[in-house]
Amino acid sequence: MILPLTRSLFSSLTFLNAILMKRIPFILAILAVLCMDAKGQLNVDTTITLDVLKSPVSPAFNMLGISTSAIERPSDLNSFRLSIQNATNNLTAIPNSYAFEIAPFLFGAKKYTLKDFDSSKHAFLQSFTISAGFTHMGPEGQEDVDSLKTTKVAIGIKFAIIRPGWSENTRKVYLELIKQQEALLNAYELPNMYSDSLQILKDLRVALARDTTLPREEKRERMAKMVADLQRMHNLVDSIQQEGLPGTEAYQRAKAIAASFPTERKGVFLDFTTGMVADFPDNRFDNSLVNKAGAWLTGGYENGNKGITSMFIVRYLYHPEVIFADPDGKISADHASTFDAGARFLLSTLNDKFTLSGEALYRSVIGNSMLDPSWRLVLSTEYEVAKNRKVTFSFGRNFDGAISKGGNLVAAINFIAGFGGERKVK
């Protein structure tokens, strides 16, 4: 009785053992991938640091230290005038600080409709913004002490030199919106209802103009009355024409599209940003000095979140807050000029399962022999083997010249190599 049981147990164990022997390398490899990524990523910092070079949204204010909530952003000349009137108490007082950001080329009568944003043609005029501001206050903590107040004026400009057109997806959505608007236009016109009335009105108007029996003054009065009557009639007809529009399918479809219109762009882009702060130490306009200045050139290739995306930034700063090339603060930032550059690329393919990204940074202080220029390079790759399971590999060179590598792929390869035989993989 015991013997068959033992035999059965033994055969079960043999079977289990065979399965385990077959599966162990695979299970261990998976465990290695899942458990050892923390160990593998010890060395390489894959954090994207190109952002430290990026151009500020409003260059003048960033350098002047004005908070973005205090910035006036008038969208037309009238609101700009009102903003200045409010800030100066109807032009009777000078405020302690005032800052504005305007897009002067969007102030004019010519408005840019949605389709005008699908090209580089109007990119400069549409994107051109001027930011300016001034402060008249004492140093930090003593802002209101009159004897210590100095004036600082900042000005910045920003514009796109090259802007890519919309992506295929955005254009498709736009054409669908136009299709719905065309349907809405047809519904609004109701031509048959109106053309007969127009003919009657026209005949009346022409007859009145040709009537030679009426005195000139009376004729003019009748014409004016007819125009007023026609305006009233138009209001009435228009009300009827408009009434049904929101209930139409075209209206609701257009609304759904417009409410979440995607603005993806695809192609080469190039933006320029610059700004400077002038200091008036004794509050006289004939005595000023440039306190801070900066210029940013940002370019690259935008690909609507798919495929290769790359970007580069070149930055010049005069008297920066922090010298990027001098994290230890060895030299004074006063009158220092720095030149920094960076580039980043991202390749996403196989339905976003495989991504390869790289980043390079260069930093230097112009005209300084204490600090040599230094550079940093990071390459990183990821492959999604299953949902929430990724194989990663990264390689980098730091500013100090140290080479490092990391990622769970390195750990997995090392582990598998050790398990399978004597061959060592580094």
Partner: protein
């Protein structure tokens, strides 16, 4: 098709969207030129231009610039109708507007209208009617 009560539809909308006027032209061959700028910046617009029930321009996207609609001679005692649908796509404002102008007649003519729509994505329908009269 269900009809939404007019009062409810435009409860929170503001502004005028239709206009009628006369425009004096002389009986010559000088061209009458129309400009139409739908706004505000970033909104999507489609327009039809009709002269006495005949379409002169159909489903024109965006703004209409330097559009010759005829000569003074050919337009006198005729109606110009311009229909425009403006859909609110710009996220920073619910304001739609129309800036219409004519040149080539006795004096330049310009008229502006605007309407704030209730919600993001809503559309406003604009209509301008001009009757051309001769200067006599």
């Amino acid at each position: 098709m269900s009809i939404t009560p007019l009062k409810k539809v435009f409860a929170d909308t503001t502004g005028k969207t239709n206009h009628y006027d006369e425009y004096k032209v002389d009986l010559s061959d000088s061209p009458i030129v129309m400009n139409l700028f739908p706004g505000t910046t970033g909104q999507s617009a489609v327009s039809d231009v009709i002269i006495d029930s005949n379409k002169k321009g159909s489903n024109i996207q965006g703004s209409i610039t330097n559009f010759t609609i005829g000569t003074g001679n050919s337009l006198v005692n005729k109606f110009l109708e311009v229909y425009t649908i403006i859909t609110d796509v710009a996220t920073d404002s619910n304001l739609t507007s129309l800036d219409f102008s004519l040149t080539g007649g006795i004096a330049p003519y310009r008229y502006k209208m605007e309407r704030t729509v209730q919600e993001q994505g809503d559309s406003a329908a604009y209509k301008i009617t001009i009757f051309f009269t001769d200067f006599s």
